[in-house]
């Protein structure tokens, strides 16, 4: 799980969600790529962040894309974040013995614009949270930073500042993650994506 390095965080705000991740892809101590995507849009209002082994990140992203597209064809509607989280949990538990080495974070707004975030372990145990979810090699740093900075009912711009500071300062102290970050703010009006510059080491 620590082979490639990652740092992912999602936070709830007032009718909005923020999800952010670093951009490093490494092979133990060697950095291979500084623009590696770990957070993916599933629908316009639901995002998933995947930390852990990079090969499983890609494999699972492709799996979820397929299953969500099939869902859309069958149900003739877009999948809700809570439903998608259960789908992710199911896909992971299918491999209970011989699991994918990932920790997913699901974040989205449901059809009534109510924010939803959850995290999971590698076999799909859902952890619902009211405040924030973190995962990756910088997990412990992120827990501390988020606990200190997060407060309820933050507006989108304030939430962006909060999540950015939590993410940046956590990855700066973690050797396996960093090299910049991407943050997505999901609001009922749309998604704002911003690139952050961290310590480039």
């Amino acid at each position: 799980m620590e082979y490639n390095g990652a740092a992912i965080v999602a936070m709830k705000g007032k009718n909005c969600i923020a999800i952010g991740a670093d951009k490093r892809l490494g092979q133990r101590q060697l950095t291979v790529d500084t623009n590696f995507k770990k957070v993916f849009p599933i629908t316009e209002r639901t995002y998933i962040g995947l930390s852990g082994l990079a090969t499983d990140v890609k494999t699972l992203h492709d799996q979820f894309r397929m299953r969500v597209n099939l869902y859309k064809h069958r149900e003739e509607r877009v999948i809700e974040p809570k439903t998608f989280a259960n789908l992710v949990s199911h896909v992971l538990y299918e491999r209970r013995f011989g699991s994918y080495l990932v920790n997913p974070v699901v974040a989205g707004l449901d059809k009534n614009d109510i924010p939803f975030i959850c995290g999971m372990d590698s076999i799909g145990c859902i952890d619902l949270a009211d405040n924030f979810i973190v995962c990756g090699t910088a997990e412990e740093n992120l827990y501390g930073a988020c606990e200190g900075l997060w407060e309820p009912d933050l507006e989108p711009e304030e939430l962006f500042e909060t999540i950015s500071q939590a993410l940046l300062n956590s990855v700066d102290r973690d050797a396996m993650s960093g090299w910049g970050a991407v943050v997505h703010i999901i609001t009922p009006a749309g998604v704002i994506t911003r690139d952050l510059k961290s310590r480039m080491d």
Binding site: Y3, N4, L25, Q27, L30, T31, V32, D33, N35, F36, L53, A54, T55, K58, T59, G98
Partner: protein
């Protein structure tokens, strides 16, 4: 220990591999081509476990060729890279995982963009402006991070390749006397003679 790296420029991609085959302390072959041509505009260099390279590379080459024959159209570099990654990922958790590291270099005729896809033996894939595998990556990334710029010409690219080769020949135990240098651009793939590099 194999040297394997590639870099892109304005409208070309260069792939470099060394030509030694090592078995413990001996060089059993000194003129091996470690690259595989998949379409006229896409190639891959493959290194890793000796017994896995040929079966895997042959399988990929055959299937890419089959697609071309069936559809009268070649796969683009991005499609080839994703196909290779998919095959590696499927094999990873099966009985016969391949321990091979791949660099896919290609030129997309539709967009006019060169590309390099770095794929490791665990099937982690990423598109990069320059990439390397193996122990030599530790030295090569240092040189490439310093020297590389966006939108370089072929002469600049070859100058960087020359610097990379010099660094490897200086620092690594085994003597790497020749390299296979291939360039892919709008005209297709051609080999550059190492002595001219």
């Amino acid at each position: 220990m194999d040297a394997q790296f590639a870099l892109t420029g304005r409208d070309f991609a260069i792939s470099v591999t060394d030509t030694n085959v090592l078995q413990s302390i001996l060089k059993i072959k000194t003129n091996k081509d470690k690259t595989w041509q998949l379409t006229p505009y896409t190639m891959m260099s493959v290194t890793g476990e000796a017994g896995d390279i040929d079966p895997f590379a042959d399988y990929i080459r055959g299937n890419v060729k089959l697609y071309s024959v069936r559809n009268s159209q070649d796969l683009t570099p991005k499609e080839v890279a994703n196909f290779i990654r998919g095959e590696l990922a499927t094999a990873l958790r099966s009985r016969g995982a391949y321990r091979v590291n791949v660099l896919v270099s290609g030129f997309d005729k539709v967009t006019g963009e060169p590309s390099i896809y770095w794929i490791d033996y665990l099937a982690a894939m990423t598109k990069v402006p320059y990439g390397a595998h193996g122990y030599t990556a530790m030295v090569l990334y240092a040189v490439l991070d310093r020297e590389y710029k966006q939108d370089i010409t072929l002469e600049d690219g070859m100058a960087i390749v020359r610097k990379c080769i010099d660094a490897m020949q200086k620092r690594f135990l085994n003597q790497m006397s020749t390299f296979t240098i291939k360039v892919i651009d709008a005209q297709g793939t051609r080999e550059i003679d190492f002595s001219e590099a």
